[in-house]
């Protein structure tokens, strides 16, 4: 109960050592493989089977991303937030989680959803909001599946960050050895949700891993104008949360850092903040036009650091892949995903009743009245010869 044993204590001076972790990691850039596919950190132990597995996930995420984009253009998907260029962050970080761990991502994380256990079919049903949509047509661009502890993202950026801390605190209270990971963008670090969540996580030593997917752009706002901080990772230091900056286009680096953070959390040593530096090659969403605010040459420039090309170069150098086997991987997944697209494309739409469901555990009287009104209106539409959509 006694917090102060002397009057000197609150007035003491502190030094860098008092922080309790190495703040240089929040300023540096952890990288295992450079953009030419050369290993630059021989001291890091690499599980090569895992690397091949992650490569395939990244390929699947890119093929799926292109398909959802195409489906949006033909009006089959309401809106899409393209993933191109960011596959290593989602795949590398989610790969560090075990099945009972929770992932609370943002939109734009197809690789992470696949790794956590959503299938292409579930993702496409969701994108097209058809009869098998797990989220029952409630929102666009977000994905989730309860049975694999993948919580659908909220559309307002960063709203999920405090939830991740709450889930982690609950698991800790119940003495479950569950770790929670949340992924969000550089823009979300400006919101109060981020700061409240980091503060709680630090104070309660919650078993949570925060991943900032710094893709350099929050719609039209470049990262340099999102904050005056030299890095995003440095923000964690003020909350007493060990923070690491990592090359987000290097899937091995992301996985290594994420695994270390997950293990720390599981040992009860508290939260970690990871800033994964990457680049959004496409528009913010299909409703955005980056031509208005950034030089189209810039996106081309970043193709040089494409995360998929980097792993491919590395695997070829290591003799774990050649052009022929790589072509087979792309062809196999392209054709498998195309089959799934065809299957999902023709599924029927959700029934109209979904617009009134899942508001309360049991419908309240006003919703029952409004359901009646909806049914009546459908009859009248029919009588008047009006189209439902």
């Amino acid at each position: 109960m006694r917090w102060f044993y002397s009057t000197e204590w609150p007035f003491r001076e502190y030094s860098i050592e008092d922080i309790g972790f190495d703040i240089r990691r929040a300023l540096g850039l952890f990288r295992v493989v450079d953009e030419n596919g050369e290993v630059v950190r021989e001291d890091i132990e690499v599980d090569w089977d895992k690397v091949v597995e992650m490569y395939v996930y990244m390929v699947r995420a890119r093929i799926l991303d292109d398909w959802i984009l195409r489906l949006q253009r033909v009006g089959k998907v309401a809106l899409h937030a393209p993933n191109r260029g960011q596959e290593a962050v989602g795949v590398g970080s989610a790969m560090a989680l075990s099945r009972e761990d929770w992932l609370i991502p943002s939109y734009r994380e197809l690789g992470a959803y696949l790794v956590k256990g959503m299938t292409e079919e579930e993702i496409l049903d969701r994108a097209m909001a058809n009869v098998d949509d797990l989220l029952r047509g409630s929102e666009f661009a977000v994905y989730g599946k309860r049975s694999v502890n993948l919580v659908p993202a909220p559309v307002p950026v960063g709203n999920q960050i405090p939830h991740a801390v709450g889930v982690a605190m609950a698991a800790k209270i119940l003495k479950h050895r569950v770790v929670v990971m949340t992924i969000f963008g550089d823009g979300a670090t400006s919101r109060g949700h981020f700061h409240a969540a980091l503060n709680f996580a630090g104070v309660f030593k919650a078993p949570v891993v925060f991943v900032i997917q710094n893709n350099q752009w929050a719609i039209s706002m470049p990262a340099r104008r999102q904050t005056a901080s030299v890095t995003f990772a440095i923000k964690g230091v003020a909350y007493g949360v060990p923070s690491v900056r990592v090359d987000g286009n290097d899937v091995i680096a992301v996985y290594t850092v994420a695994r270390e953070a997950v293990e720390r959390a599981r040992r009860g040593e508290g939260p970690t903040l990871i800033e994964a530096v990457t680049y959004r090659m496409g528009p913010h969403t299909t409703a955005d036009d980056p031509g208005k605010y950034r030089d189209p040459e810039e996106a081309k420039l970043f193709e040089r650091v494409d995360p998929i090309a980097r792993v491919k170069k590395l695997l070829i150098k290591k003799g774990l892949l050649d052009e022929e086997s790589d072509r087979r991987i792309w062809e196999e997944w392209s054709s498998r995903i195309e089959d799934v697209v065809k299957k999902c494309y023709n599924k029927p739409p959700l029934p109209v009743e979904v617009i009134l469901e899942n508001v309360y555990s049991k419908p309240t009287w006003n919703l029952l009245e409004q359901a009646e009104e909806l049914r009546e209106s459908l009859k009248v539409m029919k009588e008047l010869g009006l189209e439902v959509e």
């Binding site: 709450g166 309660f204 309360y360």
Partner: protein
């Protein structure tokens, strides 16, 4: 028992009954909350279940949502409900919509409770009645008790609810009323009003501390004119008990709504619209509203800002003389 003790005993009994129930908020531990609603809970349940948090309502509600996703039953205290606005994104966009936006896979049945309303010279940031914001958002249940007995039974029902509940406690009543409150377990159903006074001439629908103003005004109206006023204490503000309102109007044919919240888009407007749409044939006179003025809550002359006996009596005279 007064209302603070009744609320404390509801929390204590629910925490004993269900180990998933946790309390979190500012100063809820050793301090027992600034109004002592959580007093002593930390001694029985420890700091893991009675959690003193950093000072951020956004964090408290956001973290509570996460706890509920994992299966706990968090009861989040907002020190004064006037401070809830920082957390509205979490409450209105997340807690209220979690079931809907996850296709029913997840829900966030948290309880957000805190002292509300005026009467203690609290000024504009310790006196507000913000119920309309919550009622307007689909997915939330909003409750305001007016007696210690109801406070205990309703808080227990709120904690057992599968939907998120905003539980508003009129702080002026915390220690003003004492009554017998059973030590044993009981709940009061959500969505059911209470007839606080039976009458046959006019129905006053009200809630919270205004129940007592309405009862005073009813006494005055009876002694001066012999008017027989029925007072309905709504208790659950949403989903409100429309059957109780209609049943009363079938007897009286006259409706007045009294609430502390500002008039424009207050719950009174919704009740008036409901009756006008569904039961206008029952009405013998225009509907009247007595409410807080459409201003920030004042520090001075607060009794003139809040509905009082004179203002209620004034409008009663109008509708009875129509």
């Amino acid at each position: 028992m007064n209302m603070v003790q009744a609320l404390n005993s509801a929390l204590r009994e629910e925490m004993r009954r269900d180990s998933r129930v946790v309390v979190l908020g500012e100063d809820v531990g050793r301090r027992g909350g600034v109004f002592l609603v959580t007093e002593g809970l930390i001694d029985e349940f420890g700091p893991e279940r009675v959690i003193d948090t950093p000072l951020t309502e956004l964090g408290i509600v956001g973290v509570a949502v996460g706890m509920a996703l994992y299966g706990l039953k968090p009861v989040a205290e907002i020190q004064f409900i006037d401070f809830i606005y920082e957390a509205l994104d979490q409450l209105l966009s997340e807690a209220a919509k979690m079931r809907r936006r996850t296709g029913g896979m997840y829900s966030a049945p948290i309880v957000v409770r805190g002292p509300c309303c005026g009467g203690v010279r609290g000024g504009m940031f310790h006196s507000q009645s913000p119920e309309s914001y919550f009622i307007h958002t689909a997915g939330l249940i909003t409750i305001m008790p007016s007696t210690p007995y109801d406070a205990k039974g309703l808080l227990k029902a709120a904690i057992r609810s599968d939907d998120p509940v905003v539980f508003l406690e009129p702080k002026v009543l915390y220690r003003a009323i004492k009554e017998e409150v059973p030590e044993e377990d009981y709940t009061i159903p959500i969505g059911k009003a209470r007839v606080a006074r039976e009458g046959s001439d006019v129905t006053i629908v009200t809630w919270g501390a205004m129940v007592y103003q309405a009862l005073e005004a009813a006494k005055l109206a009876e002694s001066r004119h012999g008017w027989d006023v029925e007072v309905i204490d709504l208790r659950t503000l949403f989903p409100f008990d429309r059957d109780a309102i209609i049943a009363s109007l079938e007897k009286t044919g006259r409706l007045m709504i009294v609430h502390e919240a500002p008039r424009t888009l207050g719950l009174g407007a919704e009740i008036a619209a409901y009756v006008a749409e569904n039961a206008i044939d029952l009405l013998k006179a225009p509907i009247a509203r007595v409410t807080g003025f459409d201003t920030p809550f004042p520090l001075v002359h607060e009794k003139l800002y809040m509905p009082n006996v004179a203002r209620i009596y004034m409008k009663l005279s109008k509708i009875m003389g129509y």
